[in-house]
Symmetry: C2
């Protein structure tokens, strides 16, 4: 079982890497741009769809607003990018919004940002991969209905790739993004030319009528209409996720890091804007008609649409209208969209474990998230992200319009707090800067962050206001739960730190007066002899063998055998009228402690090391209970004297394999000998 | 949580009993008879039903055979009782069929008998309590449909009573059985008189017609008919379970034990025979019509029966016919039947844990089944039986006709092997007996066991042949699985015994050459200081502090602090290029062992004792893994040096409460001080 799992792990993950391999060449701009932008670019795979189908609730006429909504989203993006360009110069360490909020607003704000980002990283994976699964289905319609399976497969593949870790080619990551941008720009240009010459075709869904939702009988008029437009804007702002990637990865860039990051940000914004706006205008032009539920929201010639109609994503319909159904261009767009969506998720598979490891180092998450796995990735973080994303995919059956409702909350919590942090930051700078010219520049910077704060806070309010009941509450709940968990854990770690810190009153040289050793005897067999021998070898001040008299016949037999064997250690019988083992032992230890409180008591317990899982169930149960119980007694050390049963030989190399299989492979033999830093302090 | 569970346990189970309380006065015949016979007597609550509804498959005419089938069952019972009367004299220790088979046929036969009996004890509880639940419903028809809940409640109550253990009044157990026998005998006598005077009424179901099953169009003719009669006989032999109770409890009887047991057996047989035959004849006379599925098997005036018809048990219908519906007599019969069925289950709640404890002592079941709980009952056995019975009740929805198909297989496996064992026994006796008169008596005894063997083997074949496909396969499977489990466990225990037995080559005085102590250091905090102090107090020949360099920054910090604190122990850094902790440590230990193979190595590991459950998840994980790994290294002792975190104070008394809560209650304080049997062998 274990060996099978270990072998499977070796096949999937590969041989371990040495720690030195962590050092990597810095990333140049031309590679950083595609790698850091995949997340932002990929949103044109689903954001236009979500804007259009939200507006479609108010009927066909309302869909004409979609390019304007897209424009509004892009305006917000430009402001955020402008303010990030100055943030990255102020905080060039790669700590990102978490660092900005922590430093300027205190650790609770930092924790909030961290919780919000963790939730959004999970959602990035869930949304991107779910969207990708619909592009796969657009290419292979026979797979309709199995989107959750396709998406799960995608998450698993990404998780395994990330567990395999470093060593992948960066060019391999950058190329699909460049290709995607190139092909989409060509498609948009071609569409523009066709439109200008009046030769632009129509989308496959152009022939359908859009049935307005009964809640919106009069289109976009009135308060309901305004709220719907705001909701469309709020879902469209999914296009803004991924903007934070360059700022959290600035430390991996080539020097000058901050300036390069600013450049990458600018290019990211310009390209994402062009892609989003172009897609949205052309989608209107070819009359893409997408709705939340095609069966009720669409009609054909006044009657119901065909039962087997599958609604393809906007980008796919656009490619079909421009390049033609079944054309190489269409399949190229579909394939590259899937690739870029996978790259977007891959970004989260990098960001989530990184942030989690930062948080674990700072004591906000369990230490297990801090350690690097065999291949130097933060394996536990990768697994946690994959599991969380798969759960979301199955809960929502990979349905993007529902998943998107949970999305963006986290990233805007983070944006808003980050802007607020920067305002504080500039305020502090102002207080220390006498130079007038510099002060003027700081004032300008602060103004930008003020605008950014106003805008991102407004978007956050809009997001929460229009979508809280549609599912955003779940994201808020997730953030809150994470926040309280991390906060409680941090308080615990801080408390333990204080409790365990070595103070001036702690002597490094004080010693217990004497050592009183006890050997716990049950049935008198070889392991007991070994425990006695080991206890005697340690030459304690006093040595007692202890037998607890829970069964008088067995006790008698043990005593007789003890005498017959001539074991040179006195044996004490403890009465146990209630047939317990630990209670009389504890009582005895306490009575020793009462007589000589400064003695150290060492209890030697023979323990069996077994091979098969079920053997653990039939051995050691009493020993385990006693050990656990003894841990609560002050001044008592429990020494397990292991006896390996013959059956344990089978698994000598199975058991430890999980932990790195010392000795069974030669790789550690020479490398782990002590590197001779013995420091003999007198 | 734990304190709640502990409090609940105290309320349900009560305060612990002292071991001395085990001694009980021997049981006199007049109490032994009802207590040992409840199981046998109670079968008239369901056995007549099962015989009649099996025969009813071939139509109304076939049901006339039911008294003859009952008679055949009683003949088998008399033979078994006759042979048991001589078995109990040959094996008066209370080991029962398990002992007879083990001694005469070898331990595999014994294990088979044990497995068979364990399965049948579970089924006794499931069948009796399920049947009781139907009597409860007969008394309170409003509860129809919730039989599984009623049955579960019954099992839980019995389990709790048995966990509370000794101290119940034996007269309280005996009285309901006597009352039951008395009331049923009165009822049968009254019925007989009414029948003789021609005044006997009819049962509530007399008005229904019985629809034959399409498989039996011609009644009981042909091979199908013969097989059906055999099947009825096989289900009716459920009446034979419980006959083995006196022989397994002979040791609790007053002297002369064996003779008293023989008398009890005889009386048991006579009374059970009278009850069963009387019930079956009268049930025919009052025209009780019961079928497996009333909705399809019964008809009223050619049409379907009323939808709300609930089929009551035969004994209930008989009481209604004789005493009248709603009469005190009827409710008395119902109440006493429930009581005697509970007593029958109670017998299993005694037999199962007892047998399991015997098996655990002999090394066929885990040792946990051997130990007596707080109230001197074999708590784990009681819980195992209750859980198994409840599972069966829910799987079969407390439906007796289905459960009965699994029943009796085990008890007849046991009967048959026991008879075979007795034949062997007499054969051996013959070989050692020269006296002619005694030989003649032994020959007679052996003849009886030969007849018994033939009969019980025939019944076993009939049971398997007619019911294997109806559900008996599950019982056979259960017996087989138990057999193989017990056999594997026994082989394991035997192997361990051989492996661990102290031989002449094992010296009780040899000692390891020297002690080399290692203290494992991670972050340098108070627990490490304590571990160092404890290690130094033990005055090892050599003492090293070890830090594994999985993270170079932390290692540097630790080394600096080590020097600053002036800890008088040299510290060694182990390189860990793959970021593992245990692998380099193991390598280092092996290199020490290579240099001085006779050294004992003691690894001191600081360990946190935490209070809240989740704290265990965020602490000690690495320490645990290292400890487990070190257990596989020969000549290494692991000494845990516990550090109790402040949070552990809350649970100092919660943690151990389960195990007997030493010190938190004063009851152990004086009782468990050593009873001064120190043996100072020089």
């Amino acid at each position: 079982m274990l060996s099978f799992l270990a072998a499977l792990k070796r096949i999937l993950v590969g041989r371990p890497f040495r720690t030195e391999r962590l050092k990597q060449a810095p990333l140049r701009k031309r590679l950083a741009l595609p790698i850091f932008s995949a997340s932002a670019f990929s949103s044109i795979a689903y954001a236009p769809d979500e804007v259009m189908l939200t507006l479609a609730l108010a009927g066909l006429g309302a869909m004409a607003f979609s390019p304007s909504v897209g424009l509004a989203v892009m305006v917000v993006m430009l402001v955020i990018i402008a303010s990030y360009r100055q943030s990255v110069k102020a905080y060039p360490s790669g700590g990102g919004d978490y660092e900005i909020a922590s430093v300027n607003l205190g650790h609770r704000a930092g924790t909030t940002v961290a919780a919000a980002l963790l939730v959004d990283f999970v959602l990035t994976v869930a949304v991107s991969i779910s969207s990708a699964s619909h592009y796969v289905i657009a290419a292979f319609p026979a797979m309709a209905g199995s989107q959750a399976w396709v998406a799960t497969a995608g998450v698993v593949i990404l998780a395994v790739l990330n567990l395999r870790g470093r060593g992948r080619s960066r060019i391999g990551s950058a190329a699909p993004v460049y290709l995607f941008v190139g092909v989409v720009l060509v498609m948009l240009a071609a569409g523009g030319i066709l439109a200008a010459t009046g030769n632009l075709g129509t989308a496959p869904s152009a022939g359908f009528e859009v049935v307005p939702d009964p809640d919106y009988p009069h289109g976009l008029t009135g308060l309901a209409g305004v709220l719907l437009v705001l909701r469309a804007f709020s879902t469209g702002s999914a296009a803004l996720t991924g903007v934070e990637v360059p700022i959290s990865n600035v430390h991996t860039l080539a020097a000058p890091k901050a300036r390069n990051a600013a450049t990458v940000l600018l290019l990211l914004g310009l390209i994402a804007g062009a892609l989003t706006l172009g897609t949205m205008y052309l989608a209107r032009a070819v009359q893409v008609h997408v709705v939340e539920d095609p069966a009720t929201g669409l009609r054909l010639d006044g009657g119901p649409i065909p039962g087997d109609y599958i609604q393809h994503p906007v980008l796919g319909q656009l490619a079909e209208a421009i390049f033609g159904g079944g054309s190489v261009g269409l399949y190229l767009v579909l394939a590259l969209t899937v690739a870029v969506l996978l790259m977007a998720s891959h970004t989260s598979f990098n960001s989530f474990p990184n942030l989690a490891s930062h948080l674990a180092t700072d004591g906000y998450l369990p230490r297990q998230l801090r350690t690097r796995g065999d291949r130097l990735g933060f394996s536990n973080g990768i697994l946690a992200l994959a599991i969380a994303a798969i759960v979301l995919i199955w809960v929502f059956n990979a349905h993007v319009p529902t998943l998107i409702q949970l999305y963006v909350v986290g990233v805007f919590v983070s944006f808003t707090l980050s802007q607020l942090g920067m305002i504080r930051h500039w305020g502090r700078e102002l207080a220390q800067t006498p130079d007038k010219r510099v002060r003027a520049r700081i004032h300008r910077s602060r103004l930008l962050n003020l605008v950014g704060f106003g805008l991102t806070a407004a978007v956050l309010v809009i997001v929460l206001g229009t979508r809280l009941v549609h599912g955003a509450w779940l994201a808020v709940l997730g953030i809150a739960v994470l926040f309280f968990m991390m906060d409680a854990l941090h308080r615990h770690y801080v408390q333990v730190d204080v409790e365990l810190a070595i103070g001036s009153e702690d002597s490094a040289t004080a010693l217990p007066a004497r050592v009183h050793a006890l050997v716990l005897v049950s049935t008198l067999r070889k392991p007991v002899l070994r425990a006695v021998a080991f206890a005697r070898a340690a030459r304690p001040s006093k040595l007692d063998a202890i037998v607890v008299d829970a069964d008088s016949e067995r006790t008698e037999a043990t005593l007789k055998q003890w005498e017959a064997l001539g074991i040179p250690v006195p044996i004490t019988v403890l009465a146990s009228p209630y047939r317990e083992i630990s209670a009389p032992l504890i009582e005895y230890i306490r009575s020793i402690k009462r007589d000589s409180p400064r003695d150290l008591i060492v209890v030697y317990i023979p323990e069996y090391v077994v091979g098969r899982w079920w053997e653990q169930l039939v051995h050691n149960q009493t020993a385990m209970r006693i050990k656990n119980r003894l841990h609560y007694e002050p001044g008592v050390v429990v020494a397990s004297v292991p006896w390996r049963l013959a059956s344990s030989d089978v698994s000598t190399f199975l058991g430890p394999t999980e932990q790195g299989s010392a000795g069974t492979k030669p790789r550690n033999t020479s490398a782990t000998l002590p590197i001779s830093k013995p420091k003999d302090t007198p």
